[in-house]
Symmetry: C2
DNA sequence: CCGCATCCTCATGGATACTG
DNA sequence: CAGTATCCATGAGGATGCGG
């Protein structure tokens, strides 16, 4: 752990725990699913292996992450503790805040379709419940993310292989633009190709813009 | 600005902007009110003056902070841009998350009563509207923070000098414990001394715990 | 292979002194 | 008052080693 701010302030103490470089990105990965060391290394392009080991130790000592044995035999697996999982709220807040930085497109940055799971979830949070449930796949960069809409809310995850009501194909900025438009943050640029039941897509994305 | 993560991911891009050491604490100070350079230096114990200058330049270039002339004559003043002010949501999220770190008390850390403004605001957010409006002062460490409750919500700020319906005196962990208890996060430890109209205090703090 | 630990270099942070 | 300039300590990043 890096030097503490030494301030009796909630924000300072939170940052003492998760403010170090890479920490919140590790949490991002684990918010999607528990993961092995190698998976974290792959999902965090640019991280040095010694830093990842250091940070995992810090986060474990702080009670954010727990190291445990994976279901399959003897492999080590990392997962968030209940308190660590509560970081979803501030993390999604930061993701919503970053929308203006994202609609500009990826530039030369690394990209993984799984990184759309949290943003879509964050941007669709609070969206008006759909009249009927549907599952729409979003094809981007060769991978498939699914958005499941029910009366009780919206749930975003990697495609689990089950049937989809429709598939939307677009690149990442367009997908985020679509979701942002639902919140009336920005307009959509680029094109989207829809396969299957277009009405199901509308169920997810075409609810009335908020505020 | 420190090295970019180089990831096309909302969280990574947000942290490219505000993830560097001290950045979010500077935002914390400016969320309370615009401030002069010297006020920031005083409100951020431990920061080196060159770092503060660097960070203010970075945040200005990123569009989070703006440098402007203060009302009184020719002095320079720093304030959040509208986009920067939207960091209130994730910052308050981190403050809520840090409650378990705060109820343990200050230890040897620096403390300023003004740092209670954001936590109280964050913890009281969403609290049931009071039946009547009242303003309760919270005296802590010689300073006074006021909590104004109206039908439209709760507002926390440093005391503006106007009349108070009551004054609660307690140390910081007790104050935060009180606020946390409203959200049923934790129990209150320690003692509180109330001066004035005790019913007004109840208006603020004794609404039914949530969830 | 996986799960780290070690080593080395260099950019960044921190403390202090100094200047317009 | 509002920052620069300087110096040193520390942490990040990359390569590589190594036991299981």
């Amino acid at each position: 752990m890096s030097r503490s701010y030494g301030q009796y302030c909630g924000l300072a103490r939170a940052l003492d725990v998760v403010g170090d470089r890479w920490n919140l990105l590790i949490v991002r990965q684990l918010l999607m699913a528990p993961a092995r060391y190698r998976e974290l290394l792959d999902g965090l392009p640019g991280v040095a292996t010694n830093l990842l080991a250091d940070r995992l130790r810090d986060l474990e000592a702080a009670g954010v992450v727990e190291r445990r044995l994976a279901e399959q035999g003897n492999a080590v697996e990392y997962a968030l503790t209940p308190w660590g999982a509560e970081l979803r709220e501030p993390v999604e807040g930061l993701i919503r805040w970053s929308t203006p930085l994202m609609v500009r497109g990826p530039g030369g940055d690394h990209f993984r379709a799984e990184w759309l799971v949290l943003p879509l979830s964050a941007l669709l949070t609070g969206k008006a419940a759909a009249r009927r449930s549907s599952t729409v796949g979003i094809g981007v960069d060769g991978a498939l993310v699914q958005v499941r809409t029910t009366r009780s809310g919206t749930e975003v995850s990697p495609h689990d292989g089950r049937d989809l009501d429709a598939v939307v194909r677009a690149d990442a900025p367009v997908v985020l633009g679509l979701a942002a438009r639902v919140l009336a943050l920005d307009d959509v640029r680029g094109s989207v190709h829809i396969e299957g039941d277009e009405a199901a897509v509308r169920t997810v994305f075409d609810s009335p813009p908020r505020s």
